[in-house]
Each structure stands twice: as structure tokens, then as C-alpha cells.
Symmetry: C2
Subunit: 316 residues, 2 copies
């Protein structure tokens, strides 16, 4: 059993002059030359980076020769919010390949985005595979199978040639062996890494050539497809020119700048609200102007609908 060792306080919630909650975790900031600019906690312990691995998996899909345009590639690397646009693009992608939503092996779910989930429910709709936030990744996986003549059914098995290729891609980009392969929320194989490995892989994607460059350009061109309304990854990429950024479940977040500077975060308790702010604290240490990040650096805490406190970083 691998067991997360707790980190240090990264984010705190103040209400009415009382810090009532604290998020501990691990934060690694790498300069463009690969040196450690800042480290808190234990960035070299094994973690599941969850959906922050998707840009790596998207690079693997390109290595498999999969024909993905920038929008399909951004969706393959996304945890999309499940808007009608997200769902339509993925449905079109599947149909063009002679496939349908029924071929997706991710579980049915409601849209991940709060705004998008609300609209979905108000339209009288239920959980679907297409609305599930990983459906763009799964569509890309299906297309990779078709391209290579691999079995389409059962594409999530760790022994499937596609997953073997994705494992090799993740191992190469993170620079290390994969200590454990688990099962992600969507049923796909989940390759353990470290924050150091995750940050280095984002540096490689943000500065690389060939398929890595295509992944980075797709993220930069379509931040709205990588997340959705109000989501931190989307807003960060819209605010900071050239940034690539991807969140993951259980408090993971990774980002990198065109010069190779990179940030990787894991919140011990898994809270997205904390990871969203910790990655911004890391970007500030890389010299990203505060003005570009101001609205993303903290969040108001409300009492009766009015601000009475703040969720803010305690590092950086």
C-alpha cells in the first residue's frame, strides 16, 4: 500500500477573522531551466495525478497516429464541463469515425461544470456518457484504436495495446517508471507519478516539438474546450499568454509556461478549491504578473451573500 504523506499548509479559509479551515499539500515550482524554484511538502512521493495526466495521454494518442484536429485534441486532454458545445463536438467526432456514444466506455454522468450541469438538468436531461467530463479522452482513445486496427471494445484494459502505448508515453514524459497502475474515475488506467514527474512532463509539453507541440497549441487555442465556464484551467489559459494548464480530481493541478517554467500541486484532502489557488501561487513565483492572476489568486467567503472572509494562499 502506497500512502500519501501529508504536506504543509498551502491554502486557508478565513471567515470573520477566524481561519476556520486549512488545506495542506505539496507544491513544486520549476524554473524554465528545470531547477527547483520552490518546493513545499514532498514532491517526490508517488501520487495519482488523475486528469492532469490527460495532456500526456493526448500526446500518446498522437504517437499512435490518431487523426485529431486542434479541437478534438483539446477535448482529448480535457475534463470538459459538459456544455452542449462540448457534447456536440465529441458526438460529431465519434460519428465521423463511424462510432457513437454507445462505444464510449466511460460511465454515464452529469456535466462536471456547475453552470453546465444546471443547464443540463433544466433541459430535463439525465446522466450520459457524452456528458461525462472524460468523454473527449475516451473518444480520442476510440479513434486511436480504429487507426491502428486495435479492438475497440475493451480499450480500457491495461493490457490493451493502446493503454500500453499511453503508459510508455506517460513514463517517458514524466521521466520515471510508473510505480502503480490504478483505475481512474472514468475506468481508464491511471498511471501513478510524482509532482516532480508531472511538472517535468508539463515543461516538455510546453516546450517540445512534434506531437508535444501540437498538444500545447491545442490547449492554448481552445482553453474553453479543456474546461468550461468559470473553471480555473480555462480562466488561467485565457489570462496568461502561452500557458498550458490542467486540473485533476482529488486536488491535483499542473501548468507550464512557454519558457518551460512549471507548477504542480497536490492538495492532501483532494479539494479543488485549494488546488485552483495553489497553482496560481506557484505561477506568481514564476514571475507571471499579479494583474493577470488577480481574480484567480483568492476567492471570497460569503455570509448572507456578502464577503465576510477569503480563501487565500499561505505560500508564495
Amino acid at each position: 500500500m502506497i500512502r500519501l504523506r501529508g504536506g504543509v499548509p498551502l491554502i486557508e479559509l478565513e471567515r470573520s477573522g477566524v481561519v476556520e479551515s486549512v488545506h495542506t499539500g505539496h507544491l513544486l515550482v520549476l524554473a524554465g531551466d528545470g531547477s527547483v524554484r520552490f518546493a513545499a511538502g514532498e514532491p517526490d512521493q508517488p501520487i495519482f495525478a488523475r486528469s492532469s495526466l490527460k495532456p500526456l495521454q493526448a500526446a500518446g494518442l498522437l504517437r499512435a497516429g490518431t487523426d485529431l484536429g486542434p479541437a478534438e485534441l483539446a477535448l482529448a486532454a480535457s475534463s470538459h464541463s459538459g456544455s452542449p458545445q462540448h457534447q456536440q463536438l465529441i458526438a460529431d467526432e465519434l460519428r465521423a469515425a463511424g462510432l457513437s456514444e454507445d462505444d464510449l466506455e466511460c460511465p454515464p454522468d452529469l456535466p462536471l461544470g456547475e453552470v453546465e450541469r444546471r443547464a443540463h438538468l433544466m433541459a430535463g436531461r439525465a446522466e450520459t456518457r457524452l456528458a461525462m467530463n472524460c468523454s473527449g479522452k475516451h473518444a480520442g482513445m476510440l479513434l486511436a484504436c480504429l487507426r491502428n486496427g486495435w479492438p475497440v471494445s475493451g480499450y480500457l484494459a491495461p493490457s490493451h495495446p493502446l493503454q500500453q502505448l499511453l503508459a510508455a508515453t506517460v513514463a517517458e514524459l514524466t521521466g520515471g517508471p510508473i510505480p502503480v497502475t490504478g483505475v481512474d474515475g472514468c475506468g481508464a488506467p491511471l498511471f501513478a507519478t510524482t509532482l516532480t514527474g508531472l511538472a517535468r512532463s508539463f515543461t516538455r509539453i510546453a516546450t517540445g516539438r512534434a506531437e508535444l507541440r501540437r498538444v500545447a497549441e491545442a490547449l492554448r487555442a481552445h482553453p474553453d474546450l479543456v474546461g468550461g465556464t468559470g473553471r480555473a484551467a480555462t480562466r488561467l489559459m485565457q489570462a496568461v499568454p502561452g500557458l498550458i494548464a490542467k486540473d485533476g480530481a482529488e486536488g491535483v493541478f499542473a501548468a507550464a509556461l512557454p519558457d518551460g517554467g512549471a507548477v504542480a500541486v497536490k492538495i492532501d484532502d483532494g479539494a479543488a478549491r485549494a488546488a485552483d489557488l495553489a497553482v496560481v501561487a506557484g505561477l506568481r513565483q514564476l514571475g507571471v504578473p499579479a494583474a493577470a492572476l488577480d481574480e484567480l489568486a483568492s476567492a471570497p467567503v460569503l455570509g448572507g451573500g456578502r464577503p465576510v472572509g477569503v480563501l487565500r494562499p499561505v505560500v508564495g
Copy 2:
């Protein structure tokens, strides 16, 4: 500035053989005679107990002479899930007193319960004051003002005679002075206490006479009104005869048995998923049969819709 000092690991999330997230916090278990059965973390530091204070505030409403039947009293002590039944009962209570939803000074919100929020949205409804989880408490506050000839408008001001009476009630039941009065999510004054004070107040309510007995009996008679579908407080009271239990925002939970045994929890990071399990771990230490708590003692972690791990206590 009062600043929460972090506690010890209470709950961990395992996925595929990796503990990927950990929740630290504070857990206090008092035996029926008031002695400490178990303590983890620092139960004597000041915290905001948030909605776990509502049973205390409900007792204060009775001290103010407010005419509340068992259902209205349970709703006054509730963070209800916002079902049509919850909303209708509170609307009826207001109407019978010559008031309406417009008199509530809590902010409009969607139902707190996941199932209830979904039904609300699918019915095409938006945020309302009635649907807000604290509306039963606010309705009770309004009735207390009418009963005493106090101003109805502005009943949330800390200087309002009602809030002064509720502060005195909280101070008396928790056995300590109130180090800070803040603003709760609903806009009401929020009286700081400690886990020790919170646990002792639940012992007093579970074993007391007069208005305390009425509060305890209302909670026991109407667990469905105190929470809602699938909510831990509701399920615990349904599973354990005579138990009173109340959750609060930011990872607070308190419960007490008819013999006075009590449990109080604060999760450092504020996660409800962890508080829900930690209170069960505490109840087991009080001898509540495991069979009664089995389904509430841990939660499955899913991968592709199938269990691949578990959220479980690491204490108790």
C-alpha cells in the same frame, strides 16, 4: 486573528491500493458521565461550529417563548435538503404567522441536498430563500421576534435582542464564553466555541429537561426534516435509536446518545465527506453496534462506476 491548528489523520481515501488523499482533523468522544473517552487533535481550540449550533439556537428560540411544534422545531434545527416538503412546511409556518418568504433574511439558494437540488432544477426552479438550507432556522427566528414584539426586520444583527438571547443560550450550553461572533453563510451571527463545548452542549440537549428535551425529541421524531435524502445526520438518527445528530459546514459534525455520550468533529479542510465518517468512528467508540452503522462507516470509491477503493476512518 484566530487560526485553526491542524489535527491528525482521521479519514483516508484509497484508490487502487494507493492512499491518494487524507483528511486531518479533530475528534472528541465524551462518555455519558462527561469523561473523555477519546480525543484526537486539539478539541479545546476555538472553532466555528456552523450549522451544528442550530439545535442550540433552536433551544434559544424556545426560551424566547416561540410557539414551535415538533416539525417546526426540527426545521429550526435543520440544514434541510430543500425538498418540496421542507419548503412547504416552512412556507406554511410563515403564512400561519402572517409572514412570507420575503421576510426571510437568508440569501436565496438552491437546495442543499443533491437529489433535492436536481429535482428543483428539473422543475425549472431557481434560487429562493425558502429553498436555502437555513430557512427553517430563519422562520423560527422570525416567529420569536413576533412573539416578543421585537423588530422583525433586521433580526440578524448581533445587537438584536433575539441574537443576544441566542448568544447567551449558546454560551450557557457550551459552558464557555464566546471568543468571537462572526457571520454564518446564511447571514446569521455565528458564535465560536470549541469541540469540547459543542460535545457538552449536545450531551445537555440529549439528556436535558424542558426546552432541551423538546429539541431532542423533535430531532428524534423528524430526522428527515433535519437533513434529507441520503444525508448522514438523517440516516444516523434513523439508524440509532435516541441519537441526535447535526452536521455543519466546513467539516463539523456533532451527535449525542440518550445516555449523554457525545461526539464532536472538525475536519481541518472542511470536507463533509470526512466529517460524515469521522462522527461514525466516534459513535463506535461509544458502543453503538457496528451493524447499525455499517453502511455509514465508509464509502466506496468508484472507477468506471465500479468500486476500486474506499473512503474510510483511520481512527476508532
